[in-house]
Symmetry: C3
Subunit: 151 residues, 3 copies
Amino acid sequence: MDNHARLLIEAECGNLPLLYARYSDNGDHAALARLFADDAIYVRPFEEDDPLCGRATIHAMFRDRPPTLVRHIVSNVLVEVIDEHHATGTSYLTVVSTSGGTTPPQESKALFVGECVDEFVKTSEGWKFGRRAGMIALHLGGSLPPATEGN
Amino acid sequence: MDNHARLLIEAECGNLPLLYARYSDNGDHAALARLFADDAIYVRPFEEDDPLCGRATIHAMFRDRPPTLVRHIVSNVLVEVIDEHHATGTSYLTVVSTSGGTTPPQESKALFVGECVDEFVKTSEGWKFGRRAGMIALHLGGSLPPATEGN
Amino acid sequence: MDNHARLLIEAECGNLPLLYARYSDNGDHAALARLFADDAIYVRPFEEDDPLCGRATIHAMFRDRPPTLVRHIVSNVLVEVIDEHHATGTSYLTVVSTSGGTTPPQESKALFVGECVDEFVKTSEGWKFGRRAGMIALHLGGSLPPATEGN
């Protein structure tokens, strides 16, 4: 693969974590689900033992969550191209949110800093998440889900 | 337009929000103003009803503000190219600042997370903001301008 | 230099601050040191008068620090290509960390926002940091090293 072809794949895959944030934050769950391949796997933070399998399942999870005002700040996006149809990537996610009102602006009581590890696949619909796994590393303010407190 | 031409425009427009942050944060108001087209419109957070029209007006606003120590952390930059002379983009802005001293380092009492929605135009001087609108979604610590509190 | 060659250099150099964060945060000090040229200079925040000179010295500093759980959030990466072998860049670093346990997730008591000013050189091993200097602009919570308090 030449450098320019690689650069294009890096740009396309590198946009997926940003589009994930856009559609998570504006509540467009259908568009969010379409970022995942049909047979994608999504592993949520604190839910390593309960991966979501398949686009329809992932879509339902997003759709059925109570709406919150949230912003996913995406940074540190690094993509490594494996071949014309496969790539991997990592990115950091810094999340602020509130369970108060959904009309901005609102106060967030905490800031969570985590990481996503992604596998990208080129499908007939373009590059998609083949697998996405998220985890939380540090938080400022707030507290973690009870099950993980003290871990 | 071929993919490489598109990639170049995305890179050039995608740098504008970062240059906005650089010149805002180092107080280079002339350079900051030159990021805007002559007839650009700038809509500030909490001032939707009072858009600034034209580069000279925008320049004056930046220049005449009291100096503060501030950092505009830019992320989630997504650019969509419309044609050789037009593009749109969105980005997130996370802002820390102090009204205390202007010599770093200083303590910020709050962190604001917002968004910019941009229209880019290619002028004889290169790509510029044709329109920029900012809004705040969430904050950690601190408080919002009195007029918006409770909204 | 044509636009595509420049874009490739920008992408390669622009990844170095992200790789710096990756290897800092996962504790891979050998890989971290390899991001620096053999004769690189690294100027740490609050240590302007004590630059680290040379890859081996930089490696030893990273290796001999007590391990901490830390995340370096990199944003605002701007690269300016000088020629085929030289480029400069700036980026913002937002750092959360804990001196508590090293197993995530943990609580960070503070968030530091700073900046890096980089010189990149193309070596026989590819693009490297020729010089990197970090400084802190603002912090949320926590306190600064005693020597700098009150500055």
